[in-house]
Amino acid sequence: MNKHVIVIGGGVAGLEVAGQLSNMGIEVSLIEKEPKTGGHLNKWYKLFPDRRNSSEVQSYLARIVHNNRIKLLTNTTIEKFKKGRGHFYVTTNNGEVLNADAVIVATGFDLFKSARKEEYGYGIYDNVITSADLEEKFQKGDIILKNGAVPETIGIIHCVGSRDEKVGNFYCSKLCCVTAVKQAIEIREFLPDSKVFCFYMDMRMGGAFYEELYREAQEKWGVSFIRGKVSEASETIDNKLTIKVEDTLAGRPLKMKLDMLVLMAGMEMSEGGVRVAGIGGLKTGENRFFAAVDNHTGSNRSNIEGIFYAGTCTAPMNITETISHARAAVVEVIDYLKDGK
């Protein structure tokens, strides 16, 4: 098939789509705004639930780019977008105009900017970090406080930026719970003398083997789970953090001191995605993610014929789901290229 498809976004979904299409002999241009492909995964240490090293999946994705004749455009964003008679004309920031038969949007997600939850003091208190910061610490292998000391008590706050009307996000990011459990275990592995507390609203262990991981965290790693939304954090005179939460199952407010606070930042529609939606006239939902035409049978199809979605630009997904969704997008594109015109 002598066709050309543009894939916007070089994260997990974009790479998978590009690889699969390229394997089928379709010419693919992959546009990535960063200098490097791989997306958020590059910063991740291990993956839940089996705590496999993320580099294994990274290298799987890297091989796609190397093995195929994919035209890779890094440091590239989209400036203009035009549709005309079954053809798409995409102008990049470098002034290049690409001509394609179909477009796949795989702009992914941005992590919720935790500073927006001012009461937790991210960016203000020395030892409040996000889940992403913690992954970087894991990669470096040193879980230390700002003053270089080793933390003894670490609190993990679930649902930061998710299920929170106050920041405009009604939805559940669905992966933060299991990430919290995974990170709690990893903290305990790195720091066997530490105590880890997870503050959750609900434990949403919906995926395969998530519940088992949760159980392991409790039983083997002694992680404490306290049900309640942390309302505020403050820095104490000895440079610790004191948090207030209701222990809803005890029915009593609780306060405790922690050395470090990890915020489980939720997933939001990426800024790049918002731009693409604006430029391309693509519909977004109330949750600001791209709205597919049919949530059940057409979650890859956009409101514009010939433009398809892949991955977390439509909703929070884990890597397994992202790759499945990307492969589904490939089927949609092939169908479209065969019959659509």
Binding site: A115, E118, E119, G123, I124, D126, E232, E235, T236
Partner: protein
């Protein structure tokens, strides 16, 4: 603490404050609590900053205490507030500057309600017309008096006779700022610096040489809480709130507390006395209490006003330790001399 992070937050919460021609609305309770504050404020505004501040003898309580105590229905409160607006309109002013935090919060809340529900505004207009025959324009600018002082903090700083610095050690005084709950907790965007890290008093403290103390219970209510205090049986909650704050700030060894609300200085001041009576506990250094000031009092002190003219003798927790630290010249024997005080008040009329 990462100060740059705080500054970034402060940047997000800027607010427009009118330059001149203020319609000043006094607080109903402050004149009993700390009568020198509003007097000093007017003196600073008019004489130091040469601003046009108008006040009208017919303005009443905004009924906020009644509203927050679940005694006065919201429509009544709105009509009372509408009358304040009408008086302002009649006097030809547009910039409303309440002295009270609860009033400020209430005005903000009512204006926001009217914004979202114009039909309510219409109804109130009709009611006001029917009851008093008055009509009103909504204020163009609504700023709390402390916002205005914040706006002119540099000007005041430039004229300052004293700085919030310990003259013996040269160290800045450690100052706890306490913001009234109704200032920004309901509408964070209406407060300078927002609700989490309010900057309105911190800005003054920094400008006048002090060091701001950020302690864990900084968000906590002073304990006034209207219903909590008004019913005697509930006062245990009220005092427990203040105690929680004192316990939390104590390790930071604060030299003074500064507030911008009518109730807060009252309760932070008086409860220190009561706690000491009940439990024999004091929270300041050398077995003293922590002196509590209003921002107007602090501005007056900085400008070199006589402490007794500012009404500091009305404080139950002695403020002399701070006066001594700053090196303010005062005469201890005149503390309760009514003649000198009344002379100051008369000088303003």
């Amino acid at each position: 603490m990462i100060i740059d992070g705080k500054k970034a937050v402060w940047k997000d919460y800027q607010k427009e404050i009118a330059d001149d021609r203020y319609y000043y609305v006094r607080s109903c309770v402050r004149q009993n609590f700390f009568p020198g504050s509003e007097t000093a404020f007017l003196k600073i505004m008019r004489e130091e900053l040469n601003k046009d501040v108008y006040e009208h003898p017919c303005h009443t309580s905004c009924s906020g205490i009644g509203y927050h105590s679940d005694i006065v229905p919201v429509e009544t409160t709105m009509t009372v507030v509408a009358r304040q607006f009408a008086i302002m309109t009649e006097a030809g002013y547009e910039n409303l500057m309440p002295s009270c935090i609860t009033s400020f919060g209430l005005y903000t809340e009512i204006l926001d309600t009217w914004h979202h529900f114009p039909e309510v505004e219409e109804k109130i207009r009709k009611q006001l017309k029917k009851a008093t025959g008055r009509e009103f324009d909504k204020p163009k600018n609504l700023a709390h008096a402390s916002d205005v002082i914040f706006k002119f903090r540099k000007e005041i700083g430039a004229k300052a006779k004293y700085k919030l610095i310990n003259k013996n050690t040269g160290e800045p005084l450690k100052v706890v700022d306490h913001i009234g709950c109704h200032y920004a907790k309901m509408f964070p965007s209406k407060g300078i610096g927002g609700a989490e890290y309010p900057y309105v008093l911190s800005g003054m403290i920094e400008e006048w040489g002090g060091q701001v103390i950020d302690y864990p219970e900084r968000r906590h209510c002073c304990g006034f809480g209207f219903r909590q205090y008004l019913v005697q049986a509930n006062r245990g909650f009220s005092i427990a709130c203040s105690k929680e704050k004192f316990e939390s700030m104590k390790p930071f060894k604060p030299d003074m507390i500064i507030t911008n609300c009518p109730g807060c200085p009252m309760f932070l001041d008086r409860w220190q006395y009561v706690i000491n009576e009940m439990e024999g506990k004091r929270y300041g250094q050398n077995g003293e209490g922590i002196p509590v000031f209003t921002y107007e009092e602090v501005a007056g002190l900085v400008l070199g006003y006589d402490p007794w003219d500012l009404g500091l003798q009305m404080h139950q927790t002695d403020c002399e330790p701070v006066l001594d630290k700053i090196g303010i010249d005062y005469s201890p024997e005149d503390k309760y001399n009514l003649e000198t005080v009344s002379a100051f008040s008369k000088s303003l009329v």
